[in-house]
């Protein structure tokens, strides 16, 4: 059975800290890995990763994929209270099907 595991499940930091969120996967047919940020409502798209070793960056957020070791990390530097959210990792295994991880709940304290 295809699965996506995220760690930690919950994380509390203070503003200015740097955090690393982990996502590992076991799927029979890997096409891409995506990161989403979910605040009070719907998840919003952050990154899509398809190739190993190529960092995607957007402001203070960056992500990289290791297809050999089957994991990805999402880094957030200089965290702000607005970064508080659930971060979801999803793997596209075939067609338009995605397997989602349980999410990491990040709380950034002032």
């Amino acid at each position: 059975e295809d699965k996506v595991v995220q760690s930690p499940l919950s994380l509390v930091v203070h503003e200015g800290d740097t955090v690393t969120l982990n996502c590992s996967y076991e799927v029979t047919n890997f096409r891409s890995l995506l990161w989403y940020k979910q605040e009070k409502k719907a998840p919003t798209f952050l990154f899509m990763l398809t190739s190993s070793g190529i960092e995607k960056k957007s402001g203070r957020l960056s992500s990289i994929l290791d297809k050999k070791e089957l994991f990805s990390i999402l880094n957030i530097t200089a965290t702000q209270t607005g970064d508080s959210a659930i971060y979801l990792c999803a793997v596209n295994n075939y067609g338009q099907n995605f397997v989602f991880g349980p999410g990491t709940r990040l709380s950034v304290l002032p």
């Binding site: 096409r31 891409s32 998840p43 798209f45 338009q96 995605f98 349980p102 999410g103």
Partner: protein, 111 residues
């Protein structure tokens, strides 16, 4: 540009009642999905559709039905609500593997 619109936002049902969760998208996407999100469990796929007139089961389809008569609309039907269906439901659409556009969710409680 409304994106994906879900209604209602909240609903409380009694056991055995039925209801339809509405989902409409205005992006002309062929692919549409229904997910449920339980605490600590991520998103589980209920049903999906690759185009008008075509639907297929996802990971957790029992207790639900869908239809896709138009490209825009993808309603989800609960026929006999059960407490196990208490969850947050998300509709989404996509055109490529670059990610979904999600609706704002429906919080359903079955009592």
């Amino acid at each position: 540009n409304a994106g994906v619109t879900q209604t209602p936002k909240f609903r409380i049902l009694k056991i055995g009642q039925s209801m339809t969760l509405q989902c409409t998208q205005d992006m002309n996407h062929n692919y549409m999905y229904w997910y449920r999100q339980d605490p600590g469990m991520g998103l589980k796929l209920i049903y999906y559709s690759v185009g008008a007139g075509i639907t297929d089961k996802g990971e957790v389809p029992n207790g639900y039905n869908v239809s896709r008569s138009t490209t825009e609309d993808f309603p989800l039907r609960l026929e006999l609500a059960a407490p196990s269906q208490t969850s947050v439901y998300f509709c989404a659409s996509s055109e490529t593997a670059a990610g979904y556009t999600f609706g704002s969710g429906t919080r359903l409680t079955v009592v």
